[in-house]
Amino acid sequence: MRARICVRVSARHWLAVLLVPLFLFPIVVSAASYTLYIKAGTHTINGAGGATLKVWGFTDNPSAGPMVPGPLLESHEGETVTVTIYNQHTLAHNFVVRGVTTDTASIPAGSSKTYSFTTPKAGTYLFSDTLNSNVNREMGLYGALVVRAAGGVNKAWTGGLSFDLERVWIVSDMDKPRWNDIAGNGGTVSTGTYKPNYFLMNGMGGHDAMHDPNTVLQGAPGKVGLVRIVNAGQFDQSLHFHANHFRIIDDDGLRLSSPEYGDSINVQAGTTAMVLFPLRAGIYPMHVHSANLETANGVYLNGVATLLVGQ
């Protein structure tokens, strides 16, 4: 279960405060606290070419199956984040926030561990299980930590560029016959060969991702979307935006102070990027520009794709 304890209250909002439950009353120290469970289960890619894959994943719901990707972790610059992991799987796992935490020790099957860290700077981070030669990550044990500017302002970071709306796009890949079917049945994956046949946008094929309100970048024309891109897979992905050039503001944690624009951004496996995209009137696709990565087991547009909607 996820408990957010991060409430800002000003005198002007006293009336609103009266309407919220008592336990949400102001707390001086901002902090975010999460409890996640590691589980084995299945994950379904809908639409033509889709399939149900065996996966391992994080979830914040103790009575549900794994989520691919895992729950979004959210915080603000300088906050303390506490994450408790219950490993309810039969194998050892770990939890590493790339560039933030350094403890790579395993959590034995049936055990739990609590990680506490202060988020260093606003940005977008990949968390994953780094064990087992990429098998654990490939099986679905990944997600994103979003660190926002302090004070809840719509800026990419304190003093940074403004945006009107934001989306998190976690892209990834899965090799069903050679990795998920094998590892999911307790076998040993031959990690030298990796030929993923599923390419996911926020855990979905494009047929779903082009209709998912949390994925489609939609707003009034002229509004600026901040897109936080996380490549949790093993293939580099070159994401092509129709309609407008984006401005790259963060290349894997490196903030770009000078304006650099593009229509295709290469997000290397295991890295992140942030772009600002001005919406344009109409409906346009955003898709990866590598042939097979546009497909679900060969079916066109059920791979890494979504929409950019200005209306």
């Binding site: 580099d236 129709h242 409906i283 042939a291 546009e294 060969g298």
Partner: protein, 350 residues
Amino acid sequence: MNRKLLTMNIGTALAGMVLIMAPLTPVAAARLGNATVLNAANGVTINVQSMNKTMSDGKSVLFWVWCAGGGGGGMGGGGMGGGCYPSGPTLELGVGQQLNVSLSVMMAPQENAPYNGHTIHWHGLDVTQSEDGVPETGASVLGDNYKFTVDSRYVGSHMYHCHVHTVKHLEMGMYAPIIVKAVNSAGAFVDVINSGGPTYDYEWNLMYSSVDPAYHSAVGDSTVFADYNPKYFLINGNEGRSTSAPAETVTAAPGKKVAIRLLGVHSVNTSFVIKNASGSSQSFTVHNKDGYKLPSPQTLTSLNLSPGQTADVMVTLPTTAGSWYPQVTFKNLRNGGSYSGGTVYTRLNF
């Protein structure tokens, strides 16, 4: 093959004219390379033809390629159309001038529904939805007329390609450069690398593509399209597997400035370098990425281009005669390892 050759004599003569006439009248820089070049504002009709191409291992691969008819009349094109080849014909468009391109799919090779027909997507030009060439958002696949203008931010390299079932159609060869050019008050092209940027004496487009022959025979929702195993790597539609058999050889005058436009319509990773005859990497300056001016030019000796990206780079040739070998190494998406036979060489004589 029906490619219009621009002779090197003309190129050299034009370079001389630039020297003499540049202070008075803008004179177009010489286009290097074999591609037909057409002015997209003059009314161009694009159609699609089949072409069997014999590859370096003797095997034949079927391509579907753009061909041009209609007006055009740009440098090197002469309005005669043609250009039927992977990576051709090149279109050029002046800032503020209206592109006028018709796509005809009559007699075109095509797939069955739902992937029948073809479109043109103006990759990097940020056109409106009605001109975007995407069937899923309403574009006609049965032929279309495209009209739009672009502003000075777009001076640089862009691409036009089919956007029907792109997992196959892009692979089949329906791609080519579209170059946005600055114009003077009389509407003539001005040879600057970007708006306010430096001038050049020659320009040369290098379009990268990769070929998995299985994609050329598979159709529809085949599982072939789940896995990509490129066997051939092309620049301007040609393999160039050694410095002695380059994909394209061009000649420019020593000491001159050459704009090299890199256009990535390939499906894997790449790295571009320029080597001299003794194998030393030569530096070059990157001015634009994805057809947009960089905040400041970057001088590099190696440049990665991912699928869908373009870059405009410039070099100044040595003043003594010689050859350089601009080359692209294609790398896999998993770990960046180079493909076997994955380096494509070109040759730039001066």
